[in-house]
Amino acid sequence: MPSQPASDEVRSAPPLLAVVALGCERDERWLFEGLDLSLHAGEILQVEGPNGSGKTTLLKILSGQFHDYEGEVLWRGQPTSRVRDDFLGSLLYLGHQPGIKGTLTALENLAWYQALGGQPQAKVEARRELAWAALDAVGLAGFEDMPAQQLSAGQQRRIALARLHLTPRRLWVLDEPFTAIDRDGVQALEALLLAHAQRGGSVVMTTHHRFSQASRLRRLCLGAKEGEKAEQGSEQGSEQGVGGKDTASTQGASA
């Protein structure tokens, strides 16, 4: 896999997702303040930090769910609120809860997301075929007609992960995607994320998982102590491939 993420052409374009002077205050303490960040096509941003450092909050801000913040979130150089349809149409967000209904089968759960997310294939049969293939890809073949509540927690998360295969979305925002996934699944998911980056997509995620292959990967540490350098490039040194210079000056949790 080439470690140079994107072509120069893409690099000169405005970053896919950018954050300018982002600050968020909760319960009278700053989770982060003055956060600048830019994410280009083909990059994976891993948000790290201790529990309670605001990782999920940052992801909710980036995905446009949480509005109580300072600063700006830009999608291709424009505020997300102004290009909302384009932004939401390009976004795939997976939160803490998988968004799966226990009483519905895996296929029925996916069918709803297909209808919401604009599956180009209009035919019911073709869509079912796609959903089936997506479930197969996450190792759930044979479980597609079982109510989700009869599946294990990991399998339920796999239903949610099947959505990554379903609709081509440019930006994936994933909150702890590796939770409850077994070792083989973790490897496969890692490969999937890299493949997504390789096709020009971007990923923002929170996880404590260490990637075995660190190309295209950048890290952002929230809640780092003052003076400590908040952002590190990936260990295998793809830092020069990284576009924005980011500093997360976190006026840390006084607690």
Partner: protein, 240 residues
């Protein structure tokens, strides 16, 4: 998890049909509710229980009960609806599908309208269809059955729409039930007055079309405004 399925990213995000999204949301809610039947019959059982107790508590006198019947039926149906509202968005919030609903490029007011339509089909409509049976118990003249069904069917649509505003506002709270009632009961009063009024005039042998027309007008207003308020309420709740 192989990744052979990943296709090239489209330049523009894929467009989906609004009608398809509406239908899928409605179908999903209906299917889901039909698989957990015990919750489904809760409001109906409540309705039947309350109405059964009235003749025992007041008096078995048929003439007396018949004069009270329109009001009793309407109040009981209204409370049964109220009882069912608390869970309208709660489960979606807990399993994460509410976030997903809010993150679709589709207009949220229309998607929540699908959810409210599902709620009405599973509570308001069955309540309206069941009401004549309970009307018999209260000695309601059979001439008023048609108006009873029509008024409850029309009125409960408004009740579902208005109630969903309260449900959306209180979905993030642990015990939002009381607050929910406080928020929406004042808004229910006009519906109750004209709904019960329609049945009352039918009992008295007077035309009840005017009452039904006003119920219809209230429904039109609720259809227009409530989805916007529900969507705004959900965004507020999620933001908290």
């Amino acid at each position: 998890m192989n990744h052979e399925l990943l296709t090239a990213l489209p330049e523009a995000p894929p467009t989906s049909s609004l009608a398809g999204a509406f239908k899928a949301t409605l179908a999903r809610d209906l299917r889901q509710a039909l698989r957990r039947r015990s919750e489904l019959i809760n409001p109906l059982v409540f309705f039947a229980l309350v109405i059964t107790l009235f003749p025992l508590g007041i008096s078995p006198d048929k003439a007396l009960l018949a004069t009270l019947a329109p009001g009793l039926l309407w109040v009981a149906a209204l409370l049964a609806t109220l009882l069912s509202l608390d869970g309208l968005f709660r489960q979606d919030l807990e399993d994460g599908s509410l976030e997903q609903l809010l993150l679709t490029p589709q207009p949220l007011p229309l998607l929540v309208l699908a959810k409210v339509a599902g709620h009405w089909l599973l509570t308001g409509l069955p309540l309206a269809l069941m009401a004549p049976l309970l009307g018999v118990m209260l000695g309601l003249p059979s001439g008023a059955f048609g108006v009873l069904i029509a008024s409850l069917a029309l009125g409960s649509m408004s009740l579902s729409l208005i109630g969903a505003i309260g449900a959306a506002l209180t979905v993030g709270l642990r015990r939002g039930g009381v607050l929910l009632s406080l928020i929406i009961l004042p808004l229910y009063i006009p519906v109750l007055i004209f709904g019960a009024g329609a049945v009352q005039s039918a009992v008295n042998g007077m035309p009840s079309l005017a009452h039904l027309a006003i119920l219809g007008a209230m429904l039109a207003l609720a259809l227009l405004l409530a989805p916007l308020a529900i969507a705004a309420g959900l965004r507020l709740s999620i933001n908290g």
